[in-house]
């Protein structure tokens, strides 16, 4: 298959793995544990598990699976708010399929649908707008979520609704931004990450330049990465090259899609419609300043939160849940106390078990879980996390 098979060539993969092994040997640091590289994006996590990439890497290079799954990190209170909106009379609540499974404190949107709420899957916010036009007597609410990748389409839909004078369409906006979140991870005291694979799709919108602070302020190498196996292996090699030569730079492996300045049209639409929230709650990570997005006042009539007044419920993550530690690379998914027991993809307790792009769900789905749980019982010790350079 064109544009796919080129990036899955087994011979090229072997060559890259051999280069990675040579570099890893040079970088070996006895007593200090493996080099930890974080892929921020859930799409990367999926590729890594699907192709078994971690198994191809030498033991001294470890991948840490970051918080880049917007469905996973949505806190339960927001889901409960969304269900309350869905259960208002006359409302058609629309969203992406994944979002329907996210559990709140009283179950998911799917459960609300089973109780009688009109909850429908759409594949684009424009589908939701079309529904609103078809049903002028109903209020169609789009449960908007995602990083910068999905923001432009939501923004353009709002602009389209404004142009068409559609009054019965609104957003329950849960868009989140990438940069403050990476910063929050870098700022956390137990942070053990040596380098980052930056999210390719997000970078198509915002460009590569916004990641400069990772290299300049935190002295961590970061490589904008595509989503095929060879993309990821090449980026790992590029990160190790930087570490080996003592560099910390932003590099762009995904140059076939990402420009350093991003996509001006998309950025303009985002800027026109959205503004930052002062703070936003993340499941597993807590509140992160300026990480959430809301509609500007000029578009308040499309904001379901202001139109209907949601309760802004706050519900703490379950105490047993160790998603935060897993997200920061302090624990591996299977080292969490509830992994595979109380917390499974069918009945997720924590954020990372919710969507197939969440690190724990990926482990559960693609790795031999029983073997991992046995390992957790027998051997939970691991190398001390590396001290973070200031």
């Amino acid at each position: 298959m064109k544009y796919v098979d080129e990036f899955r060539d087994p011979a090229k993969a072997r060559a890259l793995v051999a280069s990675i092994e040579r570099l890893a040997l040079r970088l070996a640091r006895p007593g200090r544990g493996p080099i930890q590289l974080m892929e921020f994006c859930g799409g990367h996590t999926h590729t890594i598990f699907r192709f078994g990439l971690s198994q191809l890497l030498p033991p001294s290079v470890e991948l840490v699976h970051g918080p880049g799954c917007p469905v996973c990190v949505l806190p339960m209170g927001r889901v409960d708010d969304c269900i309350a909106l869905a259960e208002r009379s006359g409302v058609i609540l629309t969203s992406f399929g994944d979002a329907l499974r996210v559990p709140g404190s009283q179950g998911s949107l799917l459960a609300a649908r089973a109780r009688g709420a009109d909850v429908r899957i759409v594949y684009s916010p424009l589908d939701a707008l079309a529904l609103a036009r078809q049903h002028p007597e109903r209020e169609v609410i789009f449960f908007a979520l995602g990083f910068e990748t999905t923001m432009p389409s939501t923004a353009l839909t709002v602009l389209e609704a404004e142009r068409g004078g559609v009054e019965n369409f609104s957003l329950f906006c849960n868009h989140i931004t990438t940069l403050p979140t990476i910063k929050a991870i870098l700022d956390s005291p137990d942070m053990a990450i040596d380098g980052f694979l930056a999210p390719g799709h997000v970078s198509m919108v915002i460009g590569a330049r916004p990641f400069d602070f990772v290299a300049e302020r935190y002295r961590r190498p970061i490589v904008v990465t595509g989503f095929e196996p060879l993309d990821i292996l090449q980026s790992i090699w590029m990160l190790l090259e930087q570490i080996a030569s003592g560099r910390a730079e932003v590099e762009n492996q995904y140059a076939r899609a990402v420009r350093s300045e991003g996509n001006a049209v998309a950025l303009e639409a985002i800027g026109q419609v959205f503004q930052l929230r002062e703070f936003f709650e993340w499941r597993g990570l807590g509140s992160i300043d300026h990480s959430g997005i809301q509609l500007r006042d000029a578009y308040a009539r499309f904001d379901a939160e202001r139109k209907f007044g949601v309760k802004q419920l706050k519900i703490a993550d379950p105490k047993t849940c160790q998603c935060g530690e897993v997200l920061k690379g302090v624990l591996r998914p299977w080292e969490c106390k509830v992994f595979g027991g109380a917390c499974t993809p069918e009945t997720p307790l924590g954020a990372l078990m919710v969507s197939s792009e969440g690190a724990c769900a990926a482990y559960y789905k693609f790795v031999d879980v029983e073997q991992l749980i046995r390992r957790r019982r027998g051997d939970v010790c691991r190398a001390e996390p590396e001290k973070v350079a200031p």
């Binding site: 796919v4 699907r50 990439l53 971690s54 191809l56 499974r101 993809p345 069918e346």
Partner: protein, 364 residues
Amino acid sequence: MSQAPIGNGAASLARAPERRRSKLGAKTIALAHGSGGKGMRDLIEDVLVGAFDNPLLAALEDQATIELASLTARGDRLALTTDSYVVDPLFFPGGDIGKLAVNGTVNDLAVGGATPLYLTCGLILEEGLEVEVLRRVVQSMRAAADEAGVKIVTGDTKVVGRGAADQLFINTAGVGVVRAGVRLGAHRAAPGDHVLTNGFIGDHGAAIVDARGQFALDNHILSDCQPLHGLVQAMLAAYPDIHCLRDATRGGIASVANEFAEQSRVGIRLDEASIPLRDEVRGMCELLGLDPLHLANEGKLVAIVPPEGSDAVLRAMRAHPAGTDGAIIGEVIVQRPGRVTLRSVLGGERVVDVPFGEQLPRIC
């Protein structure tokens, strides 16, 4: 064709087969067509008996009666199965709900090693269904039954109010006979056995996704809906001691492989590079994040065959029209009992789980 609310009239019809069958004038199905009166008789005689046309059905008794001697001549066990069909949309590239309702039940018998012989047909019709749609579905059932060499010998019709069903649901039950000596069982997979399938996987699931038109993909994927008993008989003739056999419908190859691994307490390792997968289906899966191993099939089976028999079975498969693209796709291993793994094209391995949650509702 009903649980004979027509009463004695049915018997007299059977005695006077030369009587002209009544005609259904209506363009759409109404509640009256399920009420036991004239409307219902018109529907049954015109649309159903006319199409299925065989003496067992035309007798219009409450049941079809089958001579035991005709069955015992063919084998030493009776196989009985039932399945309901609710696919959306009713018509899709490569098939429709009628063809599916015949082949699905035929295949459930086939993978038990049975020769399918007789089917029942239960219809649940939504008020407002176009009679023309029903005629097309029933004609398609007849064509599929003829192709599979089975007869539809009894049935039932119910009509429910608008909204109480979606257009048309079908239940078929099937009876077949298993030849003496056939010993298939999901618990029989043994380390060293080979895993085979009879061609491209995921075509049915992909065809349904296409037919729903939500993604405006420019594809021409046909459902693989086809009867499998001829193929199974050819495979058994080539090597009678096939260990396990199941058709991979909902949940795809992944579900069947997991059933075998669990029930036999063995591991199964599939090899991604050797699994037949059309480029169009693969492309759709890449685009939509679907796993082809989870996609539904309606004409694919998974067989577990001892290594000494796998070449013979593969040759027999490929010589049969329903198995020309057959392949050995993996092996049974001692490690990780109860688990299925996939070796990726790059050499890494992952666990293949059964799908959880709602994948594609109303796929069959």
